[in-house]
């Protein structure tokens, strides 16, 4: 029996049991990770899982069931169980559920990959991490860490509407971090970002970031941070590097525009959103420099795919245009509830989890400046980059971020290094103060976005570039 056959059997079983719509995803995922510490490999882990997840709709109620077994009997059982669970849901029913229409595609898609990351010799991958962390340790890092992660995912999707789509997505990435321990504190510098850089690409991504070339620098900077002056407290001009701005986008825009949050479907856990659907199209989110797109078609970005996990083809659209909120991340059912005519942002963390609204690639369109020009145009302010901590309220308004490193900006130049830089603000007020934006876009990958119950980890992409914000409160400390 092929994987498409298993998915088809499951869908047919769900319909036979009484579902009015059903879909099934067979997935086979291989994962490999390696950790190094101070020049030694700490752990090599290789995981493999495969199974089928079935979603059934009975009346206005959903059910989902998953098993790690692709036999005919197991697939049939999964379809039947999904429908039985949906029937139980009808005892506490909601409003009528429709699904916005999509073309029932029959297609194959694969992410670009020049060098198969699972085909690269383990010894080569180990040498890369061991050498980079040894170099960092030699330069004074008390704890020098390195990591790479690889995901190789194949999925086969079938729906009762006629979808039949297979996809092969290869993702990988790597990073290093140097931590130094001081009298009463620790300081850390990472490269190329906190947890590393990731994409839907092959090992060529890891080759391109050249970890070894930055190993000594991050250790030196972490040491320097121990004796650097504290970030001053007060309101000032804040220039954010692209890596930190990527997380700012993720937390204060990406999650806020998730339609399931806006509709209250995540109210008890992840939270809701400050956005009101009645204001879609005319609510000011930020300054006119702010153009945010939802674009799962960006080659190699971590949130890219051919079709989402409901079979909707990838397509770009604006979330914020010239500072106005104009779009959301949606699924077929949530879009129908909201009266929208597009979906395409539903994904699941593996075959055993329910597909739900997730970010794809949510990021900024480039601005007219360069980082050099932004600094040169700033008489007084603080430059911060590379995330160290992040926190935001359940409506995605009130945030506080800490960065690994800051620098004074005085009279158009970078000055002294600053330690423990933090900033805080309210989303639309903050984005409304963005007055300079660089053109130097990088599609940063975030491989650890948590959402849902049971918990799911999502992979998202965030094109971002350095930008300047005015009158931002910095230097918050305990």
């Amino acid at each position: 029996m092929t994987h498409f056959d298993a998915a088809t059997v499951a869908v047919e079983a769900a319909l036979a049991a009484g579902a009015r719509y059903a879909d099934a995803r067979v997935m086979h995922r291989r994962y490999e990770s390696m950790n190094a510490r101070n020049g030694e490999i700490e752990e090599l882990s290789q995981n493999e899982d495969a199974g089928i997840g079935v979603r059934a709709l009975v009346g206005s109620s959903w059910g989902f069931f998953a098993v790690p077994d692709l036999s005919d009997a197991a697939a049939r059982h999964a379809g039947t169980r999904a429908t039985e669970i949906a029937k139980a849901s009808t005892s506490v029913p909601g409003p009528a559920v429709d699904l916005v229409s999509v073309v029932a595609s029959v297609d194959s898609w694969a992410s670009p990959c020049e060098i198969d990351p699972l085909g690269v010799a383990l010894s080569d991958k180990g040498d890369l991490l061991a050498n980079a962390t040894a170099e960092s340790h030699k330069h004074g890092a008390d704890v020098a860490e390195g990591i790479y992660q690889i995901w190789d995912t194949r999925k086969w999707f079938v729906s009762s509407e006629g979808h039949r789509i297979d996809q092969h997505v290869r993702e990988c990435g790597a990073g290093i971090a140097a931590t130094v321990v001081g009298e009463d504190e620790t300081q850390r510098r990472s490269y190329p970002s906190y947890r590393g850089q990731y994409g839907t690409r092959g090992w060529e991504l890891v080759d391109s970031i050249d970890l070894g070339a930055h190993a000594a620098r991050i250790a030196d900077e972490a040491k320097a941070l121990l004796t650097a002056p504290l970030c001053p407290q007060g309101e000032t001009n804040l220039i954010l590097g692209g890596e930190q701005l990527a997380l700012q986008i993720h937390e204060s825009v990406g999650h806020a525009i998730e339609l399931d949050r806006i509709l209250g479907w995540e109210a008890a856990f992840a939270g809701t959103s400050w956005l009101d659907l009645a204001k879609l199209g005319n609510l000011r989110y930020g300054s006119e420099l702010m153009n945010i797109t939802i674009d799962p078609t960006i080659p190699g970005a971590l949130g890219s795919f051919g079709y989402d996990d409901e079979g909707t083809p990838a397509a770009p659209r604006h979330a914020v245009r010239d500072g106005l909120w104009v779009g959301v991340l949606a699924g077929r059912d949530s879009a129908a509830v909201a009266g929208l005519d597009y979906a395409g942002s539903v994904r699941a963390d593996g075959w055993a989890r329910l597909p739900m609204v997730r970010m794809t690639n949510v990021g900024l369109q480039p601005g007219p400046h360069t980082l050099e020009e932004i600094i040169a145009a700033t008489d007084d302010g603080v430059y911060m980059d590379v995330n160290r901590s992040w926190s935001i309220d359940d409506k995605r308004l009130n945030f506080q971020f800490g960065c690994e490193v800051g620098y004074e900006v005085k009279n158009g130049r970078l000055g002294r290094m600053l330690r423990n830089p933090t900033y805080t603000g309210i989303g639309p007020r903050f984005w409304g103060s963005m007055d300079m934006l660089s053109s130097e876009i990088v599609a940063w990958g975030t491989p650890n976005c948590g959402k849902g119950q049971p918990g799911q980890v999502g992979h998202t992409g965030h094109p971002a570039a350095p930008a300047r914000f005015t009158n931002v409160r910095v230097g918050v400390r305990g």
Binding site: R37, E42, E43, L44, S45, Q46, N47, E48, D49, A50, S61, W62, G63, F64, F65, A66, V67, P68, D69, A74, I85, A88, S89, S91, V92, P93, G94, P95, L122, D142, V143, V181, D184, E185, T186, G264, W265, A267, A268, F269, A352, L354, M356, S389, W390, S391, D393, N398, Q400, N420, T424, G425, I426, G450, Q453, P454, G455, V476, R477, G478
Partner: protein, 464 residues
């Protein structure tokens, strides 16, 4: 669907046989097999909008051969087991030397087999839906959201040193909010027993909190005396566990923990204990170390941190049974921490109004001016060594004046060194009633009473 049902121990034994076959008799192997049957019924806008279940058996093999170590895992049984062994053996051969390999766990008896409730094991989608309906109906017409969850985990461990264990655990848990236009109220509870979770009681409590916190006022940030309910205290425990009592962080001097020092108020005692009838969690870890009871903090004095076999060997002590799949890199973490109450066994009960129970009301009575905080949200570490955390309040904050809850207050942002908040002299009182809070991720299970603290550092209000 498999026609022959193998026990977890059967599977573990078969993997060990395959290891002998593929890698030879000299390889040291440990196998952890976990079968997890999870079902979660989720509701929002007062109806069931997501309803999921899965049954997954997961096999983890750690292999040490010729001085090198690798880990592999799979959900594929049958032929998949040979594939797992072959690729893990191959990975071991390509791995670098592992000089700190701590050796396999020797044969050692279990302290407990784990708490299993047959009603939880047998719970159906209809059983879960009934509890959701009771929560919704008890919320006095307010909009509700949350989940009801049942979880049954059975596991086996076996290694090539001749050690094997089996155990199981169940959990029934509910976490829900009731909402008005200007406020949310929450109620949560987890137990090994299905019968302990009453959706109606929890729905009423969530509604009482939501109704009592409507139209909150904004207060200026600053230092406030606080009463933290169990939900908020568990956030302290979780962060202490992850960053403070993490054996690896401790050995690398990245933790605040100093053994033998009076780092906390004498009213503070933290234990990890899977031997109580209320305990949720497997009775051994992924290295096969049996779990029992040990003190992390006793009377405010830091006594120990969590260890797996590797950090224990480095520290010259014994594993506490806190190895987990990621502990080699992240470090062992006591995910079953309990803060002991002031007077174990003292009666508690539901009360009218915003306080979660009678023991919270008793703490509030001692406050001249301060805040009652239900819950913390999105807490993140600014610096792990002093454990400075930022986060927000959620699901209900009230001003306390002269021992009475007087005014609902808008949410605050805080930036607070957690150990400092429980430092000697900082804990003014500890509640008499503990609550087992449902975990959000994995197999954590934290238990805490409410506490009254001298000061909490609120650094921002709702408006920024």
């Amino acid at each position: 669907m498999t026609t022959q049902v193998d026990t977890e121990l059967d599977i573990a034994g078969r993997v060990l046989e395959l290891v002998r076959d593929v890698a030879g008799p000299g390889a040291e192997a440990e196998v952890f097999v976990e079968r997890r049957e999870l079902a979660l019924t989720r509701f929002a806008n007062s109806y069931i909008h997501q309803n999921v279940a899965d049954v997954i058996t997961h096999v983890r093999l750690r292999l040490h051969a010729d001085g090198r170590t690798a880990v592999g895992s799979s959900t594929q049984l049958g032929d998949g087991l040979r594939s797992l062994v072959e690729r893990t053996v191959a990975a071991t051969r390509l791995s670098p030397p592992d000089p700190s390999w701590p050796g396999l766990t020797p044969p050692s008896p279990a302290v407990t087999g784990g708490n299993v409730d047959e009603a939880t094991v047998a719970a159906t989608p209809a059983d879960r839906a009934v509890r959701v309906r009771r929560f919704v109906e008890a919320a006095e017409g307010l909009t509700t959201a949350g989940y009801f969850r049942t979880n049954h985990v059975s596991a086996a461990f076996a290694n090539s040193a001749g050690h094997s264990l089996t155990g199981a655990t169940t959990e029934a848990a509910m976490d829900g909010i009731a909402r008005t236009g200007t406020s949310d109220g929450v109620a949560r509870l987890a137990s090994p027993r299905l019968a302990d979770i009453d959706g109606g009681v929890l729905g009423m409590r969530a509604a009482a909190k939501a109704l009592a916190s409507q139209n909150p006022v904004e207060l200026p940030p600053g230092q406030y005396e606080v009463v933290l309910e169990s939900d908020a205290v568990v956030d302290l425990l979780r962060n202490f566990a992850m960053w403070g009592f993490n054996g690896k962080a401790f050995l690398e001097n990245r933790s605040f923990a100093r053994l033998g020092e009076q780092q906390f108020d004498p009213a503070v005692t933290f234990v990890e204990d899977v031997t109580t009838p209320r305990a949720i969690g497997l009775p051994f870890d992924v290295e096969g170390t049996p779990k029992g009871r040990f003190e992390l903090v006793a009377g405010g004095v830091t006594r120990s941190v969590a260890h797996d076999r590797r950090t224990a060997a480095q520290a010259g002590t014994e594993s506490t049974g806190d190895a987990h799949p990621g502990s080699r890199a992240f470090g062992p973490v006591p995910l079953g921490m309990t803060m002991l109450p002031a007077a174990p066994g003292a009666p508690s009960g539901e009360v009218a109004g915003p306080a979660a129970d009678l023991s919270v009301t008793a703490l509030v009575a001692g406050v001249r001016r301060g805040l009652l905080v239900t819950d913390f949200w999105y807490t993140r570490v600014l610096d792990p060594r002093p454990l400075v955390i930022t986060g927000l309040t959620r699901n209900g904050v009230w001003l306390i004046e002269d021992g009475e809850i007087t005014t609902p207050v808008q949410n605050f942002r805080f930036t607070q060194a957690y150990p400092q908040a429980l430092a000697p002299g900082a804990v003014l009182d500890v509640g008499t009633h503990t609550v087992t809070q449902p975990g959000d991720w994995g197999s954590e299970s934290f238990v805490a009473p409410a506490v009254r603290l001298a000061s909490w550092n609120f650094t921002g209000g709702a408006s920024g």
